[in-house]
Symmetry: C2
Subunit: 326 residues, 2 copies
């Protein structure tokens, strides 16, 4: 739930005068996104999302995020399109914060996605990877392997409060991943956070991808590993290979994985699970008791780390190819 | 900010099948209302608000609230209209909560209302009082004079934590109001919470009243006293008599106050200020530190209590009539 900054209708109307959006008829703070304040606007021309970028977002990254959405939308990917202002810029200032107006995507995120939706997500992810080619700006992935140790050092001392033995297990996992992290895989722009709440569907048709505020340059297959973790496990912690097959074959119907990517997938999946484990652990330990924030359970991702650690070949994820069993 | 209950798109689509609203295209939790969970729905037919009533709302009161909105809207007042289900009922069940679909009112609440807006609010409040005539259901005002002592007893012991001397001052104020509370004033259905965030404007035109979840039967002039407190004071605590005149004359352009009401207004204003002081004090003392809830300052209302205590005649509020100076 996120509305950190209120805005007055006077300020908003003045701000919107620079956009070709018609006259404002209503605006509501919406409970989406955890980093920024988001408002759903109705105007005489339609619906829009207004985002105010709060302090947790580095303002220097905004041209990358907004430029990327623009780049992807121009190449036919269904994602929110930042509207240009009269001066041609994608970013303005409102209530003292950097702010952007983006198109409103109709659609709903699926609380209980099924295999057919995983296939659609795989396809859309690969399409995004291809559409991202040629985007000139760069942004390093601050939450990839080099970022995990500093994150871990903030929680390490208290990790056993969450579960006994956690400190040693994660320390060993982190050391292993630092030593064995793959090199030289195909790189490009990745979404890096394509969880179900960032993918909209209208009926069974995928209507768009949203929330590009973790997007960065990294291994393309790492993005697929994030999706394996966030789309293909059941609530009880079990891996659903039918969903895995659907996700992977959907992806490969658009972009075929290289042999190196296939071989690296279990390690990428472990790393991706560790990344979400670490940020959740940090939030879990640091969020004050009584705060009205839904704390996500880090242990969900510990289960996933352990699952991936036992994987011998990507075939076990449901990847149907000769290389997978090599 | 209020989304206490999440809903799945499957459950929502099933729930909406009983309503004549077309096909769902999106739903967003919105940061409005503190008692309930609210979602803004887009469908192929338009925009709607879906409200899930949380535990703080007594389910037995819902027929009163929803029936009242229906009654008022039918009599031409601009307010959200609860949609009937296929079975004719205004209330259904979703995610285990009582739930209603109401029309979406375009408009914005004013963060900085001016005198002209106070006049519109006065007019709308009187129109609501008249439109409420004939509504057959009754609901006592749990937050009128009889409800203040129990509320006070929950905070009394810790009141001086907020400001030294507060305990004695409020105890005396409460005792005075209990002894002198008016009797026999004109009664009817009142809104009881018509703060600026519950009144929408499109430009300078009032487009509707919302949030009838404190509505009840009580003195009509008490409702006007609530508005004097919530619309006619400046941020520095000073009373703006231009706004007061506008509010009162707007009200009287639709419904003329009786001499008894005029005479009782200062006392009603003190009582209304005490009511909001007490609920704010309670929330202030009971909300855990670190909770992401905006705590409203009870002392804002202490200033108002003191202002009203010094009022000799309703003329000081800006009421322009002979009786006011009697």
């Amino acid at each position: 739930m996120a509305v950190y900054t209120d805005i007055t209708e006077d300020d908003l109307i003045r701000f919107l005068a620079a956009y070709d959006v018609g006259a404002l008829t209503s605006y509501k703070g919406i409970a989406e996104g955890v980093e920024n304040s988001n408002f759903l606007l109705h105007t005489t021309k339609g619906s829009y999302i207004l985002t105010l970028y709060e302090k947790r977002v580095n303002a220097e990254d905004l041209p990358f995020f907004l430029g990327l959405m623009h780049h992807l939308a121009e190449r036919g990917l269904s994602c929110p399109l930042p509207l240009p202002r009269a001066d041609g810029k994608l970013l303005g200032t409102l209530s003292g914060r950097p702010a952007a107006v983006i198109t409103f995507l109709e659609g709903m995120w699926l609380r209980k996605p099924e295999a057919q939706h995983c296939r659609e997500v795989g396809r859309a992810l690969a399409s995004m990877h291809i559409a991202g080619e040629g985007f000139p700006l760069k942004r390093a992935n601050a939450l990839s392997v080099a970022g995990w140790r500093p994150l871990w050092q903030n929680s390490e001392a208290r990790a056993d409060e969450v579960q006994s033995g956690l400190k040693d297990e994660i320390a060993a996992e982190l050391a292993y991943l630092e030593d064995h992290w793959p090199k030289g895989l195909p790189e490009g722009v990745i979404h890096a956070d394509l969880f179900p709440d960032n993918v909209f569907f209208l009926g069974d048709r995928l209507s768009g991808l949203i929330d590009f505020y973790f997007a960065c340059n990294d291994f393309l297959a790492y993005d697929l590993a994030v999706c394996l973790n966030s789309w293909c496990f059941e609530k009880d912690g079990s891996y659903n290979i039918t969903k895995g097959m659907a996700l992977l074959s959907g992806y490969e119907s658009v972009r075929r994985l290289t042999a190196d990517e296939v071989a690296a997938l279990p390690l990428l999946a472990r790393g991706s699970a560790l990344r979400f484990f670490l940020t959740r652990l940090y939030d879990w330990l640091m969020t004050p008791a009584g705060a009205l924030v839904v704390k996500k359970d880090p242990l969900e991702y510990l289960t996933k780390i352990r699952f991936h650690r036992a994987i011998v070949s990507s075939a076990e994820y449901g990847l149907r190819r000769e290389e997978a069993s090599a």
